[in-house]
């Protein structure tokens, strides 16, 4: 599903964020991406979101080389990916419902379909009763769950999460991980960037470790 092929990213100014990264993830696989801050976790996720382009090497999604996608094809690609951000990136002037509906709206879904899917996604994260609230009225954990609902409402094939449990207590963290497990069980490829050691230790999952832009351990075969 995901294949990094000798991928490097060098920023203008010479900083090398990723160095010859190679790894593969199958469809329906779930893995952690670890490493201390600045090791390149965010850059790797940005590559998968096409927010950055590699300096060299290839990134293949389902056999398709992302280098070959033109800028105008990026939106179509992003509709196959769901992202959970650490700072949740919710629009504060819109209701929970409208926030979650956004990925469907940009894809041109009819209103009835949007209503059905948004409610299903909110039900999945246990926030169905909060759909008309503004994000500021919610707790940190609830905001994060709204972010997750938005990331999965359009049924992406790949789910990326950047420190999804960053500010949450252990109980909420496990709840959120359980959610991710559910998506994995229906065939979604899930990649979670985190340095939450407790979380990693609690789950039997493949762990990829980045150090100064190099993938020192791709954890392949572990926890499958």
């Amino acid at each position: 599903m995901i294949r990094f092929d000798n991928l490097s990213k060098r920023y203008p100014g010479g900083f090398e964020a990723l160095k010859n990264v190679n790894f593969e993830m199958d469809a329906g696989e779930m893995a952690f991406l670890t490493g201390h801050s600045g090791a390149g976790k965010s850059t790797l996720l940005k590559m998968l979101m096409l927010m950055e382009r590699p300096t060299s090497g290839n990134l293949l999604i389902n056999g398709k080389n992302l280098n070959r996608l033109s800028n105008s094809q990026i939106p179509m690609y992003r509709r196959q990916v769901g992202v959970v951000f650490q700072n949740h990136q919710l629009l504060l002037d819109r209701t929970v419902f409208d926030n979650v509906a956004l990925p469907l709206q940009v894809s041109g879904y009819p209103a009835s379909e949007i209503g059905r899917r948004v409610r299903a996604a909110l039900d999945g994260v246990g926030l169905l009763d909060k759909e008309q609230q503004k994000p500021v009225a919610l707790s940190g954990g609830e905001q994060q769950r709204v972010g997750i609902a938005r990331a999965v409402v359009h049924k992406p094939r790949i789910l990326l999460a950047d420190e999804p449990t960053g500010n949450l207590d252990p109980e909420l963290s496990s709840e959120i991980m359980a959610l991710f497990r559910r998506f994995q069980n229906v065939g979604v490829t899930v990649l979670i960037a985190t340095h939450d050691i407790n979380l990693i230790n609690r789950m039997q999952l493949r762990i990829m470790h980045l150090e100064d832009g190099e993938l020192t351990d791709d954890g392949a075969g572990y926890g499958r």
Binding site: M51, R79, P103, S107, R117, R157, G187
Partner: protein, 331 residues
Amino acid sequence: MAANDRNSRDGAQRGASGKKIRFADRWHGYKSHHRDTIRISLRKLLSEPLQTLMTVAVIAIALAMPSALYLTVENVEQLGNNFESSAQITVFVKKGAKPQAIDSLRAELDGMSGIDSLSYISAKQALLEFKALSGFGSALRDLEDNPLPAVFLVQPAVSEPIDMGQIKRLMTKIASFAIVDDVQIDMAWLQRLHSLTEMGQKVVLALGAALGLGVLLVIGNTIRLSIQSRRDEIIVIKLVGGTNAYVRRPFLYTGMMLGVFGALAAAIMIYSSLLWMSSSVANLAELYQSQYRLQGLGFIGFFGLIGLGGAMGLGGAWIAVSKHLRDIEPK
């Protein structure tokens, strides 16, 4: 969650992300998206009434000024046309001409082709009229002689457009009579009026172009500020797969609305000043026994102005959007 699971599994099995939507649904979604965009853009404009009002006022003034000047030129031109069809030749009879000679001139003129109507004002009549109308009555009383000649007022038979050559030939023919002192036609000022209105039209174009540029800049700047204040929203939309067209759309609608509102306000300004002036113009026209009335924008002019405003709003927004949206990419 059950429904979601099932759907997700469907998506995985298809090898697609559930983005396959029937065309009819997509079209329907597209239409309702446009409707929503218009509604949201309108609500955003109304949520900042002062800002919107000021922008609309600037646009309205910039559109109203060249439009008003255009109407002025049109009206003056029409006024000129009115006078043109009543171009009159004044034939001055030599002083001291014998009444028989004047009678025979009248007979000659009567028989001449190219003359529509003819009227005679004797020297005595002319003096009486002058006394009555000029206000110099008491000064004239001191004169021993009547200084005024007898005149024939000749109304040439003219066709539209006016053929100055034909009128000139008629004038030469009349001037050739021995008894005729001078033949005059007051056309020079009409020609001057013509060149003035021509110049006026050019001024309208130049002013229109300059103020049109101003409208583009004002709308462009408003949209630029609006883009900056919605930066986060744009980034999130791009991250969830919104196309550039999707991101662009609300700003284009906002620009177009500002342009249309500005044009509407400009039309209101023009109509109210016409209303304000029309009674004095009617009074003036009455003094000249004229049916002349001020011309307004008319149906085509009104919708032309609205269309122009909308197009300029769209254009200004397009410039701002194409310049600034590219800079906003998720980082």
